[in-house]
């Protein structure tokens, strides 16, 4: 691990000042950052501990819920407002990692977590454009069973690993950032970036900016929502595929639909094509299959991960079918 100095900050202004130094990084739960520092992938020279900031509250506000960035995954998952109004978020969190990690990891940190691509993390002597821009991508022609089929580029096919991020992308969440120039808000779907030719740039987050909260807007499709995660073992594993689905069905018709896919995208994959196909239609197996087909038309197989194309479709169909509850 590279050496660094450690600063505990007590207020946002202090945090941003400390965090604005060159090679400074904020730490909250540390579950991803410390791991990546051990891998020598993350190399902060300054660690800024933000845990003392008052950013852990989960509160009902006008039009939705505001989750403080330092709220822990476990607490958000079991919060009554989340359970009642945003069940897919709770489910996505509970399907994540392990109880121990969920106790430590923060919501802000979860959205910042980095890919599990082994060439990025473990095989640090191999080319990786995310770790070492311009060096190449080892996964495209390598071991890529777990890699992305959507949003890939010639430079990177690494999967975004977060479950939570998939659910917040589905539900039109808004992320509040605070930096040296004050506060700004970014749609969750715009927060994570496609790799393009710069896979090392993963977020719309400027140096020194801190995630302070995540806002989830109330909506019928948020209240009637679910998260389905498919993986090789029963728990404690990243998704092969996942689907976050929210449906507002009334009068036998889907009034609004929210869909996002996990385990398949280089970023949490908001499935707008699927949503468009679903909206205004009567739920049926054919409709759900069409929605899945429509979303995956642009998916790309890199060999070992080719099964994810069909698996993602089936995952989405299953999630929609179960959520529609016999309506299909």
């Amino acid at each position: 691990m590279y050496p660094f100095d450690f600063t505990l900050v007590h207020d946002a202004a202090g945090a941003i000042k400390s965090g604005s130094r060159d090679a400074a990084k904020f730490i909250a739960g540390g579950t991803n950052l410390v791991d990546l520092m051990k891998c020598d992938v993350e190399r902060p020279a300054h660690i800024v501990d933000v845990n003392a900031l008052p950013l852990a509250t989960i509160e009902q506000v006008a039009g939705g819920v505001r989750i403080g960035a330092l709220a822990r995954m476990a607490d958000v998952a079991q919060h009554p407002i989340i359970l009642q109004n945003f069940p897919m978020v709770s489910q996505a969190l509970l399907e994540s990692a392990s109880p121990q990690i969920r106790n430590a990891a923060s919501i802000g940190g979860n959205l910042m977590q980095r890919t599990r691509c082994p060439y990025f993390r473990e095989l640090t002597w191999t080319p990786c454009n995310k770790r070492n821009p311009g060096s190449g991508c080892s996964a495209i022609e390598g071991e890529n069973r777990l890699h992305a089929i959507l949003g890939t580029s010639d430079a990177c096919i690494a999967t975004h690993p977060s479950d939570l991020a998939v659910s917040v992308a589905a539900l039109d969440a808004v992320i509040t950032l605070r930096g040296p120039n004050g506060e700004r808000q970014v749609a969750a779907t715009d927060f994570h970036l496609l790799p393009g030719s710069t896979p090392n740039i993963e977020h719309d987050l400027k140096h020194g900016e801190l995630i302070t909260s995540v806002f989830l807007p109330d909506a019928p499709h948020a209240r009637h929502s679910a998260y389905l995660k498919i993986r090789d073992r029963s728990a404690y594993e990243f998704a092969l595929t996942s689907a976050a689905v929210g449906l507002d069905i009334s009068g036998g018709t889907i009034q609004s639909a929210r869909v996002a896919l996990g385990g398949v995208g280089t970023k949490p994959w908001r499935a707008r094509n699927a949503e468009a196909i679903l909206t205004g239609q009567k739920p049926s197996p054919e409709l759900f299959r069409n929605a899945a087909e429509g979303e995956l038309t642009k998916s790309v197989s890199y060999g070992q991960n080719g099964f994810k194309i069909e698996l993602a479709k089936r995952t989405l169909v299953r999630a929609l079918t179960d959520l529609a509850g016999g309506a299909a």
């Binding site: 993390r121 473990e122 191999t126 080892s138 071991e143 073992r233 029963s234």
Partner: protein
């Protein structure tokens, strides 16, 4: 007088230290002035080190030394002992495989040593690497002399009315004990003290004595608690040699813990295998030919061969059997024995093929196995010392409800789930090696029995206390078993399911000896001694204690074939659209001679089965052939079962008395639990889905 203690499900004697956190594993010994060693691994699979630049490492705070082939003293390669590779680390610049340990950084703290190791810059002269077993299959040699033949299997196969001829594959798998390999080494003059997470301390002692040219007595190896091994800690791997060299060079005790990632590259693995099984049968189901051949990965710096054709020689009766498992030598890390070496991958292939044959013949899988039951060893013709495989089939099938099985694939459902029932046989040889033991009874009637064996969780310490207690006629709580130290009487490697038989025979022998000696003081019949007799007799003779030693050796000329057997019955549930395989229940019946402790034995069986579930459904170390490197080198992507993967396990221990296998009638149970689990699951998957998966693990894409 005998109080029955052997077999009782008493609690582990080392339970308390383990549940309170006071059990000390190798790396938990802290010595004065101790430094930390961190390994540097090669990042190419073949070639030579061109340069090692340790400038930055030396500039880094706390770094004491950087040792590599460039500056390490050279030592004699031990011929004896348990060196797992044929060369010593730091011998020369040659790179044999990716991950080879090429340098060590020693520093005052773990953080400093870790950083120092990252700063060591190595350049290489790469050479063409051989990493693809398929590409070099033509170079395969039968280095382990595995070839055997009975009758003319090829002719019989060609003439057989019903044939199965398939290729089965098993991937590279890693033991992944929860405790990574670790040592603390300290020198005092020419005396070496070594805390080693080892299942073979006497092997380490011999190796280091020879390597440094010092008497064995100067090498004190201790291994009190071992955090899992499964074969991976059976020998002296390079990190042990390196840690010992480092301690010698810096003249400080050195702690060296292999990281989880490093563990994938230089502490053994189960090698990849490709196995052809050809079964020829008559319409009556009788096997007229068994052919089992193929390939496994090896390398030029170890002698290990995965002997997957070994079970072929023992499991089914046939007049025509042949087998061979040659090695393809590659630039990959050294493989080694991993739980049920040979039998485990071999039986996956055989038992899958038997299942395929059962469908071809339309004979129930259990019935097919009964038809081909080997009443004597099918290759050497010797009688079995005991065999209760038929009882295993019977009791397992009854408990499972096998008779309710609809034989047609995809015929059993539960909602969206396809349900499959499959079964397979298990077998593992009963091994035994020489072992010695000492027993001391004190005037207060307490007994200490000692043998430098190991406790990796098999329950050795517990069952040895039980064995000695019953033999002596004293309560188990009065007996303490000491182990894990080379100053104690010699024990063999704790591997191959031989500890109970080997150490148990010595413990039984020494208890008998001690009993005789105490009885002789008063010319008593030893069998009349009671728990009080020891105190009474010793007191009467003004003795504080009395001791005995015993060396136990297996018979040289064995009249019997000795083998444990078992059978697994598995139910899987597989979603019809999203076909992840979930285990619903497994009923396993084993007959492995006498059970020494019903509680710890059950745990051993369960553990083997759970590792078998991992092997069947998730375990695979992926190799990137371009880099010659393993890829999923952590616990998040090398998957092993977690708690919710496991449900519905049921163990039947079939009673079996064996008067011939060894003095205590045990056959060993550490390995057999895993044997046959993967094929039983694969067979259940076929029954559920109609898809035959012939390459492990059975992951979702293979069923889509």
């Amino acid at each position: 007088m005998t109080i029955p203690i052997i077999g009782k499900p008493i609690d582990r004697v080392d339970g308390r230290p383990k549940v309170t956190g006071t059990a000390k594993y190798a790396a938990e010994h802290t010595l004065d002035n101790m430094a930390y060693g961190v390994l540097v691994m090669s990042t190419i699979p073949a070639g030579a080190i061109k340069s090692i630049d340790a400038t930055a490492a030396f500039k880094s705070p706390g770094v004491i030394d950087v040792i590599s082939h460039l500056n390490s003293p050279k030592f004699k390669v031990p011929k004896q002992g348990s060196l797992r590779e044929t060369f010593l680390p730091f011998t020369d610049a040659t790179i044999h495989y990716t991950g080879q340990r090429i340098a060590v950084v020693v520093a005052d703290t773990l953080e400093h040593a870790t950083r120092g190791a990252e700063l060591v810059k190595v350049t290489y002269d790469p050479a063409d690497a051989k990493v693809d077993m398929q590409k070099f299959r033509g170079d395969a040699t039968d280095r382990s002399k595995s070839k055997f033949a009975k009758g003319d299997a090829d002719a019989a196969f060609n003439a057989a009315p019903v044939k199965i001829d398939q290729i089965y594959r098993t991937p590279e798998e890693h033991h992944n004990p929860l405790e990574a390999h670790s040592i603390v080494a300290a020198w005092d003059g020419d005396h070496l003290t070594l805390y080693d997470s080892s299942q073979n301390i006497f092997g380490a002692q011999t190796a280091f004595a020879e390597m440094f040219g010092i008497p064995k007595e100067n090498v004190h190896v201790m291994s009190q608690f071992v955090g899992g091994a499964f074969g991976s800690k059976g020998g002296v791997w390079p990190h042990v040699v390196i840690g010992v060299i480092a301690a010698r060079e810096v003249k400080r005790p050195v702690k060296l813990v292999v990281t989880r990632k490093q563990l994938y590259f230089g502490n053994g693995h189960r090698p990849e295998t490709e196995q052809r099984v050809a079964l020829g049968a008559g319409a009556d189901g009788k096997l007229v030919a068994i052919i089992h051949e193929g390939l496994c990965q090896g390398n030029d710096v170890c002698t290990y061969a995965e002997r997957f054709v070994r079970p072929t020689q023992a499991i089914y009766a046939s007049d025509n059997i042949r087998g061979e498992n040659p090695i393809v030598s590659l630039n990959l890390p050294s493989p080694t024995y991993m739980r049920a070496p040979g039998e485990n991958p071999g039986m996956y292939a055989i038992e899958s093929a038997m299942d395929e044959l059962s469908y071809a013949l339309k004979i129930d899988p259990v019935q097919l196995r009964l038809i081909n039951h080997a009443d004597v060893n099918p290759t050497d013709g010797k009688p079995w010392s005991s065999k209760s495989l038929k009882e295993c089939y019977q009791q397992g099938a009854d408990r499972f409800g096998w008779s309710k099985r609809n034989a047609t694939p995809r015929s059993m459902r539960d909602g969206r789930n396809l349900i499959g029932w499959g079964m397979a046989s298990a077998t593992y040889p009963a091994h035994r090696s020489p072992a010695s033991a000492k027993a001391v009874v004190s005037k207060d009637g307490s007994v200490v029995v000692s043998c430098g064996s190991h406790e990796m969780g098999m329950g050795t310490a517990t069952v040895m206390a039980q064995l000695a207690a019953e033999t002596l006629g004293v309560p188990a709580a009065r007996v303490k078993f000491e182990y894990g130290d080379t100053t104690l009487p010699t024990a063999p490697i704790s591997a191959g399911s031989q500890t109970a038989a080997s150490v148990g025979s010595a413990v039984y022998g020494v208890a008998m000896e001690l009993k005789k000696k105490v009885a002789a003081l008063d010319n008593l019949d030893p069998s009349t001694l009671t728990a009080d007799s020891y105190h009474d007799t010793l007191s009467r003779h003004y003795l504080d204690s009395m001791d005995a030693r015993f060396d136990a050796k297996p018979e040289q000329d064995e009249k019997y074939s000795t083998q444990a057997f078992g059978a697994h019955f598995v139910e899987v549930a597989i979603d019809q659209d999203i076909p992840v395989v979930r285990i619903q229940r497994i009923v396993s019946a084993f007959a492995a001679g006498r059970v020494l402790n019903a509680k710890t034995a059950r745990s051993q069986y369960l553990g083997g089965i759970i590792q078998g579930v991992g092997m069947a459904l998730m375990e695979e170390t992926h190799l990137d052939k371009r880099f010659g490197s393993y890829v999923n080198v952590n616990f998040a992507e090398y998957l092993v079962p977690v708690n919710p993967d496991i449900r519905g396990l049921d163990i039947i221990m079939v009673e079996e008395r064996d008067e011939f296998v060894n003095p205590i009638g045990v056959k060993g149970i550490g390995e057999i639990g895993i044997v046959g689990v993967a094929p039983a699951i694969a067979n259940a998957v076929y029954h559920a889905t109609g898809k035959r998966v012939r390459d492990l693990p059975i992951t979702i894409e293979k069923l889509m």
